[in-house]
């Protein structure tokens, strides 16, 4: 199972992360595939966000390898790269569990900051920009166009000139996804994008993520507690508990995996297991 798959865009191999004496992730391996949505689920404290932080370089894993392959064949070993270089060169974008927007900047400015590296190059590392050369102005126009197209997709175009901090919660979540997409990522890591959303907003999020998957050349990695989102859109689910992988597969197989049910309900008895499994299967079935 741990052997790297040739088609995988992201291969996490034997990832282990320790904080002092605490092992947050131990020997975790999984793959994510292009054009697919991979969900990372598990009870609270299972180490999901830690996995994200390792992939995006905010933590340096204690052991293990995180290989990332672009469609054009370029390969990166993410565990060796700085966080900003992972975003800049490997093209991995992410959102945060507790939204991290630039709240004092406008919605449009947030999306412009996301295109920083491209614009920096166009401004001749600022020198050309100060002198007001034409190349930069063209690049900036193109950047605004890209931002506009994303604002239309996440239905925030009317609020483009409002400060990001003024948006309601659900809008902020969508803006954060749009901002991540403006970096032109190959892998999009979403940390609980549906947290705090009402059912209607969750439904909308599902549509948005599906659209991103089909319209852009991007693999999506998703941490989520909202099973309606997970079951509704994931192609592939990895279940974590206490930092270890306990299940890996398509939604249907994960749903009926006794290990998953045990982890979520914490029961040992086989009979109870069966009952719980049925209850969960029903609940999940209803939602999806």
């Amino acid at each position: 199972m741990a052997s790297p798959d040739k088609n995988a865009v992201l291969s996490v191999e034997h990832l282990t992360m320790r904080f002092g004496g605490l092992t947050a992730i131990s020997d975790l391996s999984f793959d994510a595939y292009p054009g697919e949505i991979t969900a990372l689920i598990g009870p609270n404290g299972a180490g999901k966000t830690t996995v994200f932080n390792c992939i995006t370089g905010f933590y340096k894993p204690t052991e293990g390898r995180i290989a990332f392959k672009h469609p054009d064949g370029k390969e990166f070993l993410l565990e060796r790269m700085d966080d900003f270089k992972i975003a800049q060169n490997a093209k991995v974008a992410r959102t945060f569990q507790n939204i991290r927007l630039f709240s004092g900047m406008t919605v449009l400015e947030n999306l412009m900051v996301a295109q920083h590296n491209k614009l920096m190059l166009a401004s001749g590392y600022t020198v050309g920009g100060i002198l007001g050369l034409g190349g930069f102005r063209r690049a900036e126009k193109a950047a605004i166009e890209l931002a506009k197209s994303w604002l239309e997709k996440v239905r925030l175009i009317d609020r483009a000139d409002d400060p990001a901090g003024d948006l309601p919660y659900g809008d902020q979540r969508r803006l954060e996804i749009a901002r991540a997409m403006c970096t032109g990522p190959s892998l999009l890591c979403l940390d609980e994008p549906a947290a705090g959303l009402n059912p209607r907003e969750s439904e909308e999020l599902n549509k948005l993520l599906k659209a991103i998957r089909t319209e852009n050349d991007v693999a999506i990695l998703l941490i989520e507690h909202d099973m309606s989102v997970v079951m509704g859109i994931s192609d592939h689910i990895v279940v974590l508990d206490y930092g270890q992988k306990i299940s890996d597969g398509d939604p249907a197989s994960v749903k009926s995996d006794p290990a998953v049910i045990r982890a979520y309900l914490g029961v040992e008895d086989e009979e109870e297991d069966a009952i719980a499994a049925k209850a969960i299967a029903e609940a999940l079935g209803d939602q999806s």
Partner: protein
């Protein structure tokens, strides 16, 4: 809330027991503060140290303090609380300040250009103008670091010092040595860019180690750097001439010295020699430098680097997740800020004709920071008003001769000006912590430019 509702809010009855208790408490604390620090003063006489007392002063201060506090109890604090106005939504409303703002700066620039004419040959307004413009320029430079990038720098004066000493040492020692004495009249024009570059280099050198620091720690380390540079300037006698300082050549009008007689500025243009020309010249130099600072920093704010600075102030982790190299971004902020400090320093040296370490004490950094904060973090226009207010008030203290009548003998009102600056900083934070201009202007917009309310704008990690 209607007017009727307001009128029904009755004043609270005064609890005289509580008032008496409060006044007693105030009296006790005030006495501890006044005695012995104010009431007694040590005086050196011929034979020994003796104490002088100032009880009448204490009595006056206590009487004023207690009656003011009593009056507050009787007439102010017992009033019903005012109905709280609903918080207006930050960005949607356009206030008159936003409409007027674009015209304020051009008007001020025109006034600034006309000032020497308006002054009508008087030297004082021009001196004051030079003085204020220097601080405006410094504050605009520091604003890049503190206001935009959100990095609290308490050692900014170090770069001012680097600029000043760069001019002093290059023009008196190195240029004559390298290129001969003929270069000296031109030294100002050659050193000015060099001083800026040197200061920027120092910005990077000092910025590099502190990149990982946040908040108060960053502030203290930058303060320490500022002090280290000053102490080295004092103690490295061979290089800097220590506390005695260095006398430097005055700036020339593109090689023409402002002297009477042959080859001078007046002789060249066939006008009568007058020292005022030199000050007018200096005034326009600093005005040009300040406008350059304004143009460049304003332009930078609208470029990707400027947006990255502001994004850094808002959320550093999010910046990194978007592929922004925060190390380089911070270093450029330090370097650009330092560069303008260096320009200003080199101008300062040329204007004074003399540099010594005592011009670059921590208090200078604190004053420049106070201007930036009072102006409103990140606001360039606010800084102009803040600099005029603070430096103007500073100058005012020179005029307050009438204060001498009420002050104890031997105290000069000028001594009170630093006290006033300190008090102003405290009061500013109490009543207007976000400064004069609290709204942030976005750098790019689709349909309309709406200012962002200061409540949403973060102040950075430090």
């Amino acid at each position: 809330m209607t007017a009727q509702d307001v009128s029904t809010l009755k004043a609270k009855p005064i609890d005289f027991g509580a008032v008496a208790k409060d006044l007693l408490g105030t009296a006790v604390v005030a006495m501890l503060i006044l005695v012995p620090i104010i009431s007694h003063k040590s005086v050196i006489t011929q034979y020994s140290l003796v104490l002088e007392t100032r009880w009448p002063t204490i009595a006056i201060i206590m009487a004023v303090l207690l009656s003011v506090r009593l009056a507050m109890h009787l007439f102010v604090w017992n009033r019903a609380p005012k109905p709280v106005a609903a918080r207006s939504a930050g960005a949607t409303k356009v206030t008159w300040t936003d409409t007027v703002a674009p015209y304020v700066l051009p008007v001020m620039i025109v006034l600034a250009i006309l000032l020497p004419i308006l002054a009508g040959g008087e030297r004082r307004p021009i001196d004051l103008g030079i003085y204020i413009l220097t601080y405006i320029m410094l504050a605009w430079g520091l604003n890049v670091v503190v206001g935009l990038a959100g990095l609290l720098d308490l050692g900014y004066v170090a770069f001012y010092a680097v600029g000043a000493y760069a001019y002093a040492l290059l023009s008196t020692v190195y240029f004559p040595y390298w290129f001969g004495d003929g270069i000296v009249p031109w030294a100002f024009y050659i050193t000015l860019p060099l001083a800026g570059l040197l200061a920027a280099l120092w910005g990077v050198i000092l910025g590099f180690p502190v990149l990982r620091l946040r908040g108060d720690y960053l502030a203290i380390v930058t303060l320490a750097f500022g002090e280290i540079i000053r102490l080295v300037l004092i103690n490295w006698f061979d290089f800097t001439n220590g506390p005695q300082g260095i006398t430097v050549p005055k700036a020339t009008f593109f090689g023409l010295p402002f002297t009477a007689g042959e080859g001078g500025f007046a002789a060249f243009f066939g006008i009568e020699h007058n020292r005022i020309y030199y000050y007018i010249f200096l005034y326009y130099v600093i005005l040009a430098l300040a406008l350059l600072t304004y143009y460049v920093t304003n332009r930078l704010r609208r470029l990707p680097i400027g947006r990255a600075w502001e994004a850094l102030r808002e959320d550093e982790i999010a910046c990194r997740s978007l592929g922004i190299n925060t190390t380089n971004t911070k270093l450029t902020a330090f370097a650009i800020g330092a560069m303008f400090g260096g320009f200003a320093g080199s101008f300062f040296a040329a204007r004074q004709g003399f540099v010594s370490p005592e011009s670059f004490v921590f208090i200078e950094s604190a004053i420049i920071l106070a201007i930036v904060v009072l102006g409103g973090l990140g606001s360039q226009l606010g800084i102009v008003f803040a600099a005029i207010a603070i430096m103007g008030a500073f100058e005012l203290f020179r005029e307050l001769n009438f204060l001498e009548a009420v002050l104890p003998a031997g105290t000069d009102p000028v001594h009170f000006r630093m006290l006033a600056v300190g008090l102003a900083m405290v009061l500013m934070m109490r009543f207007r912590p976000r400064g004069f201009v609290t709204r942030r202007q976005p750098t790019v917009f689709l349909k309309e430019r709406k200012a962002v309310s200061g409540d949403l704008v973060k102040e950075g990690h430090g």
